[in-house]
């Protein structure tokens, strides 16, 4: 029998809990306690254990995800960090790409680096692109930096040397020297946290890891001790940005791998739901108070990529954050949430977000002083949210406040009445999300049409059907318990670790399998050492991929390759796999061009238990509405009376024809007139285009 498992997801506003005891599931939400996050965790753990009537010793596993690392970077509350860089190159992390991410705004600023220039110290040493030593490491000069680190009160150090991905010897030697001279310093080697070419991204990743390491170390220690003191003896795992579980020890070494773990949990949940229903191509849509996340999932697995940006400070624009190169589930995040604020620009166009009213003061309808019209206000004014049914009726919304705010933010400038302004806001935010999804799909060379959408997160179900219409998607699934989707996703994650290496190989001349097999052996061992900490005996699965491209082309494709060792014949196989992927994505091959491989990656994971298929859709009849409510239809702007259902009253098989609303405590699902909803055997709402 699977052990009893508890998932804990610390978010910006709420900490979510999901507990699985055999077939039974429990969930809880408590407020996050930002200054001492472990307290919120302990409070919630106490409550949910009480709900299930369990004692600490009954628990087999705790899985934990947290935005702590991300917040430390966003709020600049990390450790005092130094960067030790190859002499002559300490400014690389500040020069970044030497470009402006916003072309026309002469006032734009680049994100300040995590390590200021006076703490970026130079080390005489040099390694060339082939890993050869051009200038040996000046060990005396390195040792001479320690008093400076002391005088400045530095507690964490990132080592960033040029070409250390090709030869890490100088970084390793430097770490050893520093460890001897200053054993209390936390040290991050760029060659270890991100062994890939491109100095800015690698060092930026190393600095970010160093920056959050002492914070995470302290927190994890406190949490572990507190749980142990309360009698919890079970192992604790952390969830990574790539959606795998890892041990506390690895989390302490590479805390940067923990950023974005919440969205990763959502993607895992979506993949699971897709697998239960045997859907090959899905798009997951997760929308909360501030942002929306859209993720494409194929053949039951999210895609992985090796970089993303944290703390985008300028309208969520690409380039305005700090680049982090770690394995991460591929998704796009935009500033569109329930709290997104509406306004009007110089061309009289409605703009929504990325500024958000957050939870304080929140949308105008919360009655906490919010004066700006938001997406939630627009939904309320159009009748799509019910003033007296929000959050299970625990919080009464103020429709008049919404009307006044929308009139002020949008209506006045455009001479529209408040309901029409609200329609504009909803249309625009839905179009923004649709456009983000389209551009994301194009950037990754994937199709959106014919996918099944899986919607979760507080604000997603109300917009999902309309977004699906815009993206030409015929089926939308809103799973049960969507409110704590990420935490439930954690329960489904395997123990996993990803290892990447830069090693350039051309397929045209002298492909030599032997050194590549050695490299893959090393990668396998590195991953296995980590995974075995948490899964000493479990069966493991290797997922290998290579970054491949036509020689000279800009972006590489991540091509899945076999796990078996290479032979001389592998060239043809690798080329065939690349060409097939290329053709699928771009519609044609390019004749006469060589193919090259830039990097290699391995994801080693425990084998997930087989997923039982969702039983077929039960037969049923049209559900009886709990009420009828007035809702403004987005296409016509006319008010119509539509059915309102309570989700808890809907039994499997029940049919709800659109337009209709399905209300539950944490969210509301809008069934538009083009969709009909049914409740499937596992309690999900399945909307199908009619």
């Amino acid at each position: 029998m699977t052990p009893t498992r508890l998932a804990v997801d610390i978010g910006g506003t709420f900490t979510d809990f999901a507990l699985e005891v055999g077939d039974q599931r429990y969930s809880r939400k408590v407020l996050t306690t930002p200054t001492a996050p472990e307290q919120g965790v302990l409070a919630g753990v106490g409550l949910i254990m009480q709900d299930a009537g369990l004692a600490p010793s009954d628990l087999g596993l705790i899985i934990h995800g947290t935005t702590l690392a991300t917040n430390a970077i966003i709020e600049r509350k990390g450790a005092k960090t130094a960067l030790l860089a190859t002499r002559g190159f300490r400014d690389a992390i500040e020069m970044a790409y030497e470009h402006r991410f916003e072309q026309y705004d002469i006032f734009m600023d680049k994100p300040p680096p995590l390590v200021p220039r006076n703490l970026r110290l130079e080390v005489p040493e040099r390694i060339d692109a082939n890993g050869g030593v051009v200038e040996p490491l000046d060990e005396a000069a390195l040792a001479g930096l320690v008093p400076i680190l002391r005088a400045e009160g530095v507690t964490s150090v990132a080592l960033g040397y040029l070409h250390s991905y090709a030869n890490p010897a100088h970084e390793i030697r430097s770490r050893d020297i520093l460890t001897t001279l200053a054993p209390d310093l936390a040290i991050t080697m760029s060659s270890e946290v991100c062994p890939e070419m491109r100095e800015y991204e690698r060092w930026s990743t190393a600095c970010a890891n160093a920056y959050v390491q002492p914070v995470m170390d302290r927190y994890l220690k406190l949490l572990e001790e507190a749980l142990r003191a309360r009698g919890f003896r079970c192992p604790i795992y952390l969830i990574t940005s790539a959606g795998g579980l890892t041990t506390v020890e690895i989390a302490r070494r590479f805390p940067i791998r923990l950023v974005e773990s919440g969205p990763a949990g959502g993607a895992i949940l979506a993949a699971h739901i897709a697998n239960e229903r045997r859907h090959d191509h899905i798009v997951s849509f997760d929308m909360g108070g501030t942002t929306a996340k859209i993720c494409l999932i194929d053949h039951g697995e999210p895609h992985f990529e090796r970089s993303f940006e944290v703390a985008r400070q300028y309208r969520f624009l690409k380039g305005s954050g700090i680049p982090i190169r770690i394995p991460v589930i591929e998704m796009v995040e935009i500033g569109a949430g329930g709290g997104s604020i509406a306004s009007v620009d110089a061309m009289q166009r409605v703009q929504v977000g990325p500024a958000s009213a957050g939870s304080e003061p929140g949308p105008a309808c919360y009655g906490r002083g919010g004066a700006n019209g938001t997406v939630t206000d627009a939904n309320l004014l159009l009748g799509r949210l019910q003033a007296d049914r929000f959050a299970g009726g625990k919080m009464r919304l103020d429709t008049n406040a919404s009307a006044a705010a929308l009139q002020a933010s949008v209506g006045r400038a455009l001479s529209l009445d408040a309901p029409t302004a609200a329609l504009g806001v909803i249309e625009v935010v839905e179009e923004n999300m649709a456009n983000a999804a389209r551009v994301h799909a194009v950037e990754r060379g994937r199709e959106l049409a014919n996918r099944v959408m899986i919607a979760f997160g507080g604000a997603a179900p109300i917009h999902a059907a309309r977004l699906a219409e815009k993206l030409d998607i015929a089926t939308v699934i809103v799973p049960a318990g969507a409110g704590v989707g990420s935490a439930f996703g954690f329960l489904l994650a395997p123990i996993a670790y990803e290892v990447v290496r830069t090693r350039h190989v051309r397929l045209d001349d002298g492909f030599d399998p032997a050194p590549l097999n050695v490299l893959r052996g090393e990668m396998r061992k590195e991953a296995e050492d980590v995974v075995r900490l948490g899964a000493p005996t479990a069966e493991l699965v290797e997922g290998w991929s290579a970054s491949m491209r036509y020689r000279g082309q800009g972006h590489d494709l991540t091509v899945t390759i076999p796990a078996s060792d290479f032979t001389a014949g592998s060239v043809a196989e690798l080329e065939r796999l690349f060409l097939a992927d290329y053709e699928q994505q771009f519609g044609r091959r390019i004749p006469d061009l060589d193919v090259e491989i830039l990097g290699w990656s391995l994801r080693l994971a425990t084998v997930s238990p087989p997923i039982l298929p969702c039983p077929p859709m039960p037969s049923g009849t049209a559900a009886e509405p709990a009420a009828h409510v007035d809702v403004v239809a987005p296409q016509t702007g006319k008010t119509e009376s539509i059915a309102l259902h309570n989700r808890r009253d809907l039994v499997p098989g029940a049919i709800v024809a659109g337009p209709a609303l399905i209300v539950e405590d944490e969210t509301t699902t809008m069934v538009t007139h083009r969709y009909t909803a049914r409740i499937d055997a596992l309690g999900s709402i399945v909307m199908t285009r009619t």
Partner: protein, 581 residues
């Protein structure tokens, strides 16, 4: 839903906006596709592309946010030339058109523009255009040394790249026979055609979804709204005529760039009369490129948030006499037209500075300071035994000096403006070549002092690990004439290019770096804004602590005296600041 309902219906307004947003998204998809499948370094690493959708009259309706201004605003005017040669009525499904005409495209032979008409039920509804810079176009390569455009490479007049019958194989054969990297160049042409296809498909989907047969009404809406918003921005400016001139290095003699800007109620006119005559070398600027960068500069100041399209661009009217370098006529050489072209935003911003009584940035480095290096036989001046040994390589990496200080803010250090390109990592440059970059760091004291400081330039020192000479192609400016400060701010430090052993190199043209020598590239800083003696002393102290400004410069240029712990010595500072003559 009837989107053709009279404007009285409030929903029409909303739906027009949704379609407009969608159109901008469609061209962004087009641009992203190009970056994804493109080949040349500038396309894939630097995002040096443009993509846009045009109505059947050749007016640009929307353009991708991704892109660099020189391409973007010149491509905006290119489609009209295609329609002149191939009138809309003669275009057929399957047609794709192409050119690299510097005067009808984007200013030099290296840029190809591809135009694809889009048909809905056999009716032409729109044209998609895209531009990118290919890695090679034959001739003398990407440098200023040619004396005529004929030496600069193969010239493809506006013609069909493909028709329903297939690709123009003759054209491809000619191109392949004339360029050094035929596979990559032809690959990029296919990429341009491919990204236009993506745009066309998405546009047709949108027209289906919204049930519209033509873009006429939507186009009118977009152009009119943009025109009105731009006009409003212009009308908020003080009226009058403002003249600015700026001296820049030129190839072999200095050039004066002169602009006379007239701001009136119906637009902004800029006349470049008085500007120096053309050069004998390839730094000449075709007018399309002049127009592109000058209008970019104006737009940055007066209406940065209004989307680029014919409606907003048409109110910015440029004029240049044909005997000046900013309206260079064929067959003058134009390969490195960007050196002078990128100076134009500073020139027109100088005019606007007079109109707005300051409130504009100081001058910056403006032209890119790229490392363009190559090696191998027939590329370098060296004896024959050495040439035999030399490894063949070709490196183009984009780098930048400092930008001018901004109202209320310091300039950006080592950051491109007005160009929108990204740099190439040192590790990538080194992996592609025998070059070793010995250092790449901020150039202390290069930012022009001011109440707001100019951005710092950077220093790059480069050597070859091979035991041979190599060559660089210098395309640099602001060496003889630095970026000027404004409103009492001091000039940025001038750029410099020299051998490690000390000998100065020319700022323009191909030059050999002898065996064992390093080349030292010291990039300019941006100008300062406002009197440096009024700069917040704490900001000066922070600059010194960070090593951006030296202690000496803090005292002499800013009148700020610091103690050993970087705190401000207030009495000394007050004395020094008070005693300035």
């Amino acid at each position: 839903m009837d989107v053709h309902a009279p404007h009285a219906d409030p929903m029409t307004v909303i739906h027009q906006q949704i379609m407009w947003d969608r159109l901008i998204s469609v061209v962004e998809e087009q641009a992203q596709t190009l970056i994804r499948i493109g080949f040349s370094t500038s396309t894939r690493e630097a995002g040096d592309v443009s993509a846009g959708v045009f109505n059947t009259a050749g007016h640009m309706l929307a353009q991708a946010v991704t892109g660099t201004p020189g391409h973007v605003n010149s491509m905006a005017r290119a489609v009209v030339h295609f329609l002149d040669k191939f009138p809309a009525t003669t275009m057929r499904p399957g047609d794709i058109f192409i050119t690299n005409d510097p005067w009808k495209g984007t200013g030099h032979l290296h840029d190809f523009t591809v135009v694809t008409p889009v048909f809905r039920a056999d009716r032409l509804v729109a044209l998609f255009a895209s531009t990118c810079h290919v890695i090679d176009i034959g001739g003398r390569g990407m440098g200023p040394d040619a004396r005529q455009v004929f030496e600069e490479g193969v010239f493809i007049p506006i013609m069909r790249f493909a028709s329903a019958a297939g690709t123009n194989e003759t054209l491809l054969e000619i191109i392949k026979g004339n360029v050094r990297e035929p596979v990559q160049v032809v690959g990029d042409l296919y990429s341009l055609a491919g990204c236009n296809d993506v745009g066309g498909r998405q546009l047709l989907k949108m027209m289906d979804e919204f049930g519209i047969e033509t873009l006429d009404r939507l186009g009118d809406h977009i152009l009119e709204r943009s025109r009105v918003a731009t006009l409003e921005a212009i009308r908020a400016l003080p009226k009058g005529t403002f003249r600015n001139s700026m001296r820049v290095d030129g190839y072999d003699r200095p050039l004066d760039l002169v602009a006379t800007m007239t701001i009136s109620d119906d637009g902004i006119d800029v006349d470049f009369a008085g500007t120096s005559p053309p050069s004998s070398f390839g730094i000449n600027v075709p007018f399309c490129y002049t127009e592109a960068y000058a209008s970019f500069g104006v737009k940055c100041i007066i209406a940065p948030k209004i989307p680029n399209n014919e409606g907003s661009l048409a109110l910015l009217r440029m004029r240049a006499p044909t005997d000046c370098i900013l309206n260079a006529q064929p067959p003058l050489p134009v390969a490195t037209r960007h050196i002078v072209g990128q100076m134009l935003p500073d020139l027109v911003i100088g005019c606007l500075g007079q109109a707005l009584h300051g409130n504009v940035p100081a001058e910056g480095t403006s032209c890119l300071w790229n490392l363009f290096a190559f090696g191998g036989s027939s590329q370098i001046d060296a004896d024959s035994t050495e040439m035999m040994r030399a490894r063949v390589f070709n490196v183009m990496s984009f780098h930048s000096g400092g930008t001018g200080a901004r109202p209320g803010k310091d300039g950006l250090s080592a950051t491109a403006f007005p160009s929108g390109v990204r740099n190439v990592p040192v590790e990538v440059t080194e992996a592609m070549s025998p070059l070793l970059v010995k250092r790449k760091e901020y150039r202390t004291d290069s930012g022009g002092p001011g109440q707001f400081r100019g951005g710092l330039g950077q220093v790059m020192e480069v050597v070859s690990l091979d035991d041979t000479a190599f060559a660089i192609s210098a395309n640099y400016d602001r060496v003889d004439f630095p970026a000027r400060g404004r409103d009492g701010g001091a000039d940025g430090k001038a750029g410099k290019i020299s051998l490690g052993s000390g000998r100065l190199l020319k700022s323009k043209g191909q030059q050999t770096i002898p065996r064992g020598e390093t080349v030292l590239i010291e990039m300019p800083g941006g100008g300062g804004l406002g009197d440096p003696f009024t700069r917040d002393a704490a900001a000066v102290a922070a600059d010194v602590h960070l090593g951006m400004v030296s202690r000496e410069a803090a005292e002499t240029a800013y009148g700020v005296v610091l103690r050993s712990d970087y705190s401000v010595d207030k009495p000394e500072t007050a004395a020094r600041r008070g005693s300035r003559p």
